[in-house]
């Protein structure tokens, strides 16, 4: 498996300018996506995980806009691993409808959405939609594209692909539809597949099969996956690396083992404790346990909190520091980064003047 960097997001800021104020959906995100690996992105709703992905595809819906930052995509990493610098493209500078962006989107970077019904046009057959994606990006004839589409449907383990290709989306069940959407996303052999909650709308048994399929296809195609979900169970099964997001920022990022067994950020720790664990249920005797909760709730998106965005809910809150100084990225161990004052070598103290005390 290659360790080459396929895409790099640096200090990405995507804001929505609304009449009510500015929503800082993505507020300084740094991420690295390696070829052939799966990056899991977790966080609660509104933390900016989906907007980060949409920024990467230049699909941010207006009035949203990429304000700042760089998204570097190394186009030919898989072809020529040694000379990847030459073909670096800064996606954040491309126009959403530019020729170059369109040649990347759906071709080299493609996406699977949460709701499989919404991702397909209900009035056209499954086949015609996959064929469209193929003929748009690749110089092949209609017949050849059809053969390839049938082949793709077979690869996502759909039964009778030559019949399903002429079916309409409503004729398929939820799980089959999601397979068809994955087939469409993979039809051009992408370098990067962005999966935004691909199994959230599915039942557990169907979910298990789709996750299995995605793992198999990743090995087959050696592609990178950016897997966005709020389900920590799914993250544990799929991800190699995990980024935890809170209010538009990545608060912790490391390999999957460290996230579950050695989480550093208080938010990650609290998140892990707040999910019902089957192990606890199995070992419980008599009295039922309560879950640990995170106090308060995610502030409304217009708020800009001074200091660390998690400080009002944080159990480890350090007065005069967390509510004033924005925490820097700290590398606690090689490859394990966290944005929290607790791990700073010397805790920064704000130049507290009398009138600033709350």
């Amino acid at each position: 498996m290659s360790e080459n960097v396929l895409a790099e997001i640096k200090n990405l800021r995507t804001y929505f300018h609304l009449a009510e104020g500015v929503v800082r959906a993505v507020d300084g995100v740094d991420l690295v996506i390696k070829s052939g690996r799966t990056l899991g992105v977790v966080g609660e709703s509104g933390c900016g995980k989906s907007i980060t992905a949409l920024s990467l595809m230049q699909l941010v819906p207006p009035p949203g806009r990429i304000e700042e930052g760089e998204i570097t995509y190394y186009r030919n990493v898989r072809a020529t691993p040694s000379s990847n610098v030459a073909d670096a493209i800064n996606i954040s500078k491309l126009k959403p409808n530019s020729r170059q962006m369109r040649s990347i989107r759906g071709n080299q970077i493609s996406m699977v959405f949460q709701e499989p019904m919404a991702a397909m046009l209900p009035v056209r057959t499954v086949g015609s939609q996959i064929i469209e994606a193929i003929t748009l990006h690749q110089n092949v004839s209609q017949e050849e594209a059809r053969t390839r589409a049938i082949d793709m449907l077979a690869r996502v383990r759909l039964p009778n692909p030559d019949r399903i290709i002429d079916n309409y989306p409503f004729q398929l069940s939820g799980g089959m539809r999601q397979r068809a959407v994955i087939a469409m996303a993979l039809s051009c052999n992408p370098n990067l597949l962005i999966a935004d909650e691909p199994t959230t709308a599915l039942d557990v048994t169907t979910e298990a099969r789709i996750l299995d399929l995605m793992r198999d296809l990743q090995q087959e195609y050696d592609m990178a996956i950016m897997f966005i979900t709020h389900n920590l169970g799914v993250i544990a099964e799929m991800a190699d690396e995990v980024a935890v997001m809170y209010m538009g920022k990545v608060v912790e990022q490391t390999d999957v083992q460290s996230i579950f067994f050695d989480a550093k950020h208080p938010y990650t720790q609290a998140l892990l404790k707040s999910i019902p664990q089957l192990d606890d249920v199995m070992s419980r005797t008599g009295e039922r346990k309560r879950l640990q909760t995170i106090k308060g709730m995610v502030p409304d998106p217009y708020t800009v909190l001074p200091g660390c965005p998690f400080h009002p809910r944080c159990p480890e809150y350090i007065p005069d520091t967390c509510n004033r100084v924005v925490p820097e990225v700290i590398e606690v161990e090689p490859g394990h980064i966290v944005r929290c004052h607790l791990y700073a070598s010397d805790i920064p103290v704000a130049q507290a003047s009398e009138d600033m005390t709350l």
Partner: protein, 356 residues
């Protein structure tokens, strides 16, 4: 060995001493939706959403009801309150005022009466609250409709309910749009609890919520259960949530009940192959590699045109000839453990093993 026998007899004595009349007893509940075709809207068949389901819920306990989408768990919950009239079957409810009543036979006025004591909370906190009603109207609506309170008294009761679910009573005049998903779910809960019911059908109450909010609502449900002596039927598809909150769990597949047992027993030693597959599919928050899971092939059976014999047989890994022709009986295989499978007695299935 002797130890084990001792504890066994002890638990048996305990359950026997607790053997009161259950609060809710469902007998052969059926809900069939007719399929109509053509100009004359002739009936050409039925979608058997709930087909011959029987179970009971004891006072003060939580019964979890799980299954994949379309298995009839929500329909079951709705039939219990007669929110949709069942096709046939009995719903015996121990009403504190009216005594033991069969909900299916109740007429309008009595139904209003019984719904003081059996209430419901819904999945979608955005769709289940009228945006044009203030919290006072929403939470006060059942109290007004049932003639329990009005005027100043109503306001006081609403304020008390809001406090109970962790909302500030000052918010009484506000409208639902001002609240987040978790807070709205609290409003829905306050509305359900306003007439001080005995029994609550919780239809996927935390599915639409984020994990940290989900934990808050689950804790609140447990606290209120202890404080008010509530009994829950907890309908959900998330197995870890159900395991956490339920005393007993019932599993449904295509309109039929396939297995019911105490939570730990069901998770550790399932007796139905479908339950086994369901357990195995749960994504667990632990990155340690584990044994290959059981993947089900094929799709869920169509309730309008179910397979012969056991509905699960086309997807079952342990299928035998008898499964294809004869429908198994739903029977008590060990005390309080009900299974609907021909091979329940001979199979040894894998349950959840503790990872620790």
């Amino acid at each position: 060995m002797t130890d084990r026998i001792d504890t066994y007899s002890e638990t048996q004595v305990k359950t026997e001493s607790q053997d009161q009349q259950p609060l809710l007893e469902i007998g052969s509940l059926k809900k069939w939706f007719p399929i109509q075709r053509g100009l004359l809207r002739r009936e050409v068949g039925n979608v058997k959403a709930v087909d011959d389901v029987s179970f009971y819920v004891n006072e003060g306990e939580t019964l979890g009801l799980v299954g994949e989408s379309g298995c009839g768990k929500t329909t079951t919950g709705r039939c219990i309150l007669k929110a949709i009239p069942p096709t046939s079957g009995d719903i015996w409810f121990e009403d504190p005022e009216m005594g033991r009543v069969n909900v299916t036979e109740l007429q309008h006025q009595e139904l209003v009466q019984v719904r003081r004591n059996m209430r419901m909370i819904f999945q979608d906190p955005y769709a289940s609250l009228n945006p044009r009603m203030s919290l006072l109207d929403i939470v006060g609506a059942p109290l007004k409709a049932m003639g329990i309170a009005r005027g100043k008294d109503l306001e006081e009761r609403v304020a008390h309910m809001l406090e109970l679910v962790g909302l500030r009573p000052e918010y009484m005049r506000r409208y639902p749009h001002a609240f987040s998903g978790g807070q709205r779910q609290r409003i829905g809960l306050a509305r359900a609890l306003a007439p001080h019911p005995k029994f609550l059908v919780c239809d996927e109450p935390v599915s639409a919520l984020d994990v940290s909010v989900q934990a808050q609502i689950l804790n609140l449900l447990q606290e209120l259960q202890e404080e008010m002596g509530l009994t829950y039927l907890f309908v959900a598809h998330d197995m870890s949530v159900v395991a956490h909150i339920s005393d007993r769990v019932a599993v449904m597949y295509v309109g039929k009940m396939v297995e019911t047992a105490a939570t730990q027993e069901l998770f550790q030693a399932p007796r139905h192959p479908y339950t086994e597959a369901l357990m195995s599919a749960i994504p667990r928050p632990d990155p340690t590699p584990r044994e290959k899971r059981i993947l089900l092939t094929g799709e869920v059976a169509n309730p309008a045109n179910p397979p012969t014999g056991c509905y699960f047989h086309p997807r079952c890994n342990y299928v035998k000839d008898i499964c294809k022709h004869e429908e198994p009986v739903y029977e008590e295989i060990t005390p309080k453990h009900y299974v609907k499978c021909h091979r329940a007695a001979e199979l040894s299935l894998t349950g959840m093993t503790s990872l620790a």
